[in-house]
Point group: C2
Chain length 203, copies 2
């Protein structure tokens, strides 16, 4: 198999951190997003959505979408469980991963895509008003998350999960979007320090 | 358990169609979105995201997010499988469900939320330029999907799955967003007719 990876972009990083937590190594090939290589004919043939990452299996089957790739490896190697175990825990991890995706990761990415000058070549049209409208959403969700993390160590409960990976990378991505976690959100800051200290964080 | 449902809104409908395909009946309570009841104190205590649906278990645990609720029922009652079986099929269903969510369902919802006058009370600010920018995304994805459905009966492969539910409801939702599937996309139209003819479609 081969993983088409995308350097510092947040979605490829989700898969790399996931694999590091699992202790899985996969041959990778870098797709140069700065050169818009994800829109090349060669890569479009692999993933018509022109997005990274994508995993190509030995028989040529392509699995795109970060979380689909993560789920594939979770099924191949269930330990340590990063999507929860059992009906309830799995549902709660899914709930939290989605809450973080839709109310933190997506707004942070929207601020970047619609306000950062470097994204002009990739996002057409950039809608500055939409970028601005997403800033308060980021802080609303972080305040909510801070209350939740007051009562437990990780985003979805007592165990580190894929929801922590999504949230951790979204928070790191805030810097590029010129946003910062407010000082008073002490539980988010404590959690972010803890997940950043894991060996997987450098993946 | 009790399912907090939301009438004609697309996300609650995803769960109802899923349950109908499984043959599962759950006691429900309607949340009146027209009256913004999802923002009431009572409902905010159930789901702080102020969104429907939400499933409350007998011990008070809340599972929010449509797909998290679906996964919970999939784990309780695996037949018929709607998230795929085995590592590869499950990953492909996840990939397709996410492609449909991000490149069809979300753009269709964005057109509705940012351009429909009735959504002014719920979406602040409405950004008309962002609504307009999402129209071509809908058609780009439908054209891509049409090519895929040329070779297989359902969105994620040979079997009906949750990706069909997401896509079917997104296509139905196009009407409210004043968008229509172009006549020439014959494979999408054939697929939409087939999924619309299933008994679950009226759920």
């Amino acid at each position: 198999m081969k993983l088409y990876d995308g350097g510092r972009a947040p979605n490829p990083r989700r898969v790399r951190v996931f694999l590091a937590e699992k202790g899985i190594t996969v041959p990778t090939e870098q797709v140069d997003l700065g050169k818009l290589q994800q829109r090349s004919d060669a890569y479009t043939a692999i993933n018509p959505m022109q997005r990274v990452p994508a995993l190509v299996l030995d028989d040529g089957t392509v699995i795109a979408e970060s979380i689909a790739i993560c789920r594939y490896f979770e099924a191949l190697q269930p330990d340590p469980p990063l999507f929860g175990r059992g009906a309830l825990q799995s549902a709660l991890v899914e709930m939290w991963n989605r809450r973080v995706e839709f109310h933190l990761f997506l707004p942070v990415a929207t601020v970047f895509q619609h306000l950062h000058p470097a994204m002009k070549i990739m996002v057409d049209p950039q809608v500055a008003q939409w970028g601005e409208a997403n800033k308060p959403r980021v802080f609303d969700f972080l305040r909510f998350l801070d209350g939740e993390l007051n009562g437990r160590p990780f985003v979805a409960g007592a165990q580190y999960s894929v929801a922590d990976i999504t949230a951790f990378i979204a928070v790191d991505f805030m810097r590029v979007s010129k946003l910062a976690v407010p000082d008073e959100l002490v539980h988010v800051r404590r959690w972010h320090e803890a997940v950043s200290a894991r060996p997987s964080a450098s993946a």
